[in-house]
């Protein structure tokens, strides 16, 4: 007796997720915008090859090319030192988005580690969750400012002004933003631990390490992905806020926040210098938030397929 009815082609989980994601119009539009922004900052400099830090060594030439309005030679104009704004926007975007991504990776790794440990090992639960509560009670922006102020110069001396500041900011944002992820992951792990498949795995003697890697982690990927997406947005905002307060990257090292900060002094004469970086930051954060929204719906099996 063989079953001859046509079996539907098996679909993978991620194909389902993608199909659900596509129904969220805002998220799809946001994904397009985000991809365009990434292309702008990565592929853009290959096409528009002007050096973002180039200052004309000839002083007379430099004075003639500074504060230019948009033209074919300088599509976004030039700044007060005659540097090309379009090239600076691309370079600044690279740094801003890189900070967002790396800081997010650090905070997600920390958050997942602490969340899984606290949820899986009962002994660690109390201490780790108290630690999370303590971190949540810290005033984060003032502490970030203090950390940057105190450690910027020594690190810049040790690792160079760019690498040092980058490491410091990424690390500072990472260690102050893992708490939400840790709480969410812990909650999910606690619920997973009571499920039958975990009991089955334990009854055949699976060691804790493999239990976590094989059975627990794959099941908490969805909440981690959502908080990772939202983490990029908040990291980009924090970095640009630090730069805006003058405690971020050094002046000759553009990021979107830094460009905005530099533009504020010239807001009366050249408002577009504030507008472009501001729009870039806002668009990035807005698109990332919408993607997060769409992902949350797409990864929720209760909504999916309806």
């Amino acid at each position: 007796m063989t079953d001859t009815s046509v079996v539907e082609k098996p679909r993978s989980q991620w194909a389902d997720v993608w199909a659900q994601f596509k129904t969220h119009k805002g998220a799809v539009a946001a994904l397009t915008v985000f991809v365009l922004l990434i292309l702008f900052v990565t592929v853009g400099p290959l096409i528009w090859t002007k050096d973002p830090t180039y200052i004309n060594p000839n002083a007379a030439e430099m004075i003639r090319t500074r504060n230019k309005p948009p033209s074919w030679q300088f599509p976004l104009g030039t700044d007060q030192l005659g540097r090309d704004m379009l090239a600076r926007m691309m370079k600044g975007g690279q740094v801003s988005i890189a900070v967002g991504l790396v800081a997010m990776v650090i905070s997600i790794l920390l958050g997942t580690l602490i969340g899984v440990l606290a949820g899986y090992f009962k002994r660690l639960d109390g201490p780790l969750m108290r630690l999370t509560d303590l971190f949540l009670a810290l005033p984060l922006l003032p502490l970030l400012l203090v950390m940057v102020m105190l450690f910027r110069d020594p690190l810049a001396r040790a690792l160079g002004p760019e690498g040092g500041t980058f490491l410091l900011i990424v690390f500072a944002i990472g260690v102050t933003s893992w708490m939400q992820a840790a709480r969410i992951v812990r909650g999910d792990v606690l619920a997973l631990k009571e499920r039958e498949f975990v009991l089955a795995a334990r009854s055949i003697g699976t060691p804790s390490r493999r239990m976590i890697l094989r059975h627990i982690l794959p099941n908490v990927v969805s909440p981690i992905m959502v908080s990772a997406t939202l983490g990029i947005a908040s990291a980009i905002i924090t970095e640009s806020a630090l730069s805006f307060l003058g405690l971020g990257f050094p002046p000759d090292f553009p990021t979107w926040g830094r460009l905005l900060f530099d533009g504020v002094d010239y807001i009366q004469q050249y408002p577009e210098r504030v507008i472009w970086p501001g729009i870039a930051i806002s668009l990035t954060v807005l698109s990332v938030n919408y993607i997060g929204d769409g992902l949350r719906d797409a990864l929720d099996p209760r909504i999916r397929g309806r």
Binding site: A137, A241, L245, L260, P271, I281, V285
Partner: protein, 335 residues
């Protein structure tokens, strides 16, 4: 409920102690602290005297305990003295700023009103805007009002406050000239004209912060209303023929406000942190500007005290939110 409150209060003490230690150590152990910034050309004995005058030559533990004593014992005594005209704190050493050589608390109290008027009114206005929007967009889920509201609130918390602030300055003070772009803290409200001036200069910073707060709170309000609108008791209330207005505004609203009230309480300390940026944009001479100045001038006592005050606010409002939650919702009382 009382035992729970007391237990939470007792738990807050070690939390605060730990946070103060973290802040103290972070600021103190940093390689960039002002002790290392005295130029090398200064002769060693003068250098020693400078460090001594700053009180920075004692071991770290002594300085930490001294700071704790000053913060939790001397400063409250000074406050009592100034309130009742007594003299308990006479001759006691207060926390002194390295920049201005005057007590840190006096400067903070001087700056407090500016921050409180701007941030406080912004938060109140934000809440007042957010609640009706949240209620209505939940009641008419997926209507055009809801869609527009969702979009605006998404923009509200995606666009950083320093950018909205700068755009407002660009439109309303550079182009239209309606509002001043710099906040004048020396303005005293004595007459109708000065009141108008005060309202004008507060308009933009308040608008920026209110938009940001309203967009977050209206989201919470909406989802909380949605949760409750689907409950059985709503169907029951409708089934027994109650007016729709009473069902929504009495039964559903009261229950949905419970989590929102705690969110509002939890948000109060974070707005002080967020106000740092807004104060910088509009040059408001408040606590945020004070902190930035102290950080740039390596004024360690000021930085430590201010940061710790922010931490105290967070712990305090967490406590208030927890207790409020228990009071409003008997189902989750802890005792």
């Amino acid at each position: 409920m009382l035992t729970f409150t007391i237990r939470r209060l007792l738990l807050a003490i070690p939390t605060l102690l730990f946070i103060s230690l973290v802040i103290f150590l972070l600021v103190d152990f940093a390689p960039g602290s002002p002790m290392s910034q005295i130029p090398l050309t200064v002769p060693p004995e003068v250098r020693l005297r400078i460090i001594e005058a700053m009180g920075a030559n004692e071991p770290i533990l002594v300085r930490y305990l001294l700071w704790l004593k000053q913060f939790f014992y001397v400063e409250p005594l000074v406050l009592i003295d100034s309130l009742f005209g007594t003299s308990h704190a006479e001759g006691m050493q207060r926390i002194v700023s390295w920049q201005s050589r005057s007590p840190v608390m006096d400067i903070i109290l001087e700056r407090m009103p500016q921050t409180l008027t701007v941030v406080g009114s912004a938060y109140v206005i934000g809440v007042i805007i957010a609640l009706p929007i949240g209620i209505y967009s939940a009641y008419r889920q997926y209507s055009w009002f809801d869609q527009v509201g969702t979009f605006i609130s998404m923009i509200g918390f995606s666009v950083p406050t320093f950018f909205t602030g700068v755009v407002l300055i660009l439109v309303f003070s550079v182009n239209l000239g309606w509002f001043p772009s710099i906040y004048d803290t020396s303005l005293r409200v004595t007459s109708w004209e000065t009141f108008l001036l005060q309202a004008k200069q507060m308009a933009m910073p308040v608008a920026v912060l209110a938009l940001y707060n309203a967009s977050q709170i209206s989201r919470y309000m909406r989802s909380s209303m949605l949760d409750n609108l689907g409950q059985d008791y709503v169907r029951t209330a409708r089934a027994k023929g109650m007016a729709e207005r009473i069902v929504v505004l009495k039964h559903v609203l009261r229950n949905s406000l419970i989590p929102v009230v705690t969110v509002i309480a939890l948000g109060i300390p974070t707005i002080f942190g967020g106000a740092i940026i807004t104060e910088q944009v509009f040059k408001v001479n408040g606590l945020g500007a004070l902190l930035i100045n102290a950080i740039q001038g390596s004024d360690l006592p000021m930085v430590q005290t201010l940061t710790f005050i922010f931490a105290v606010l967070i712990v305090l409002f967490n406590l208030i939110a927890d207790v409020l939650y228990g009071m409003l919702d008997p189902r989750i009382r802890y005792d």
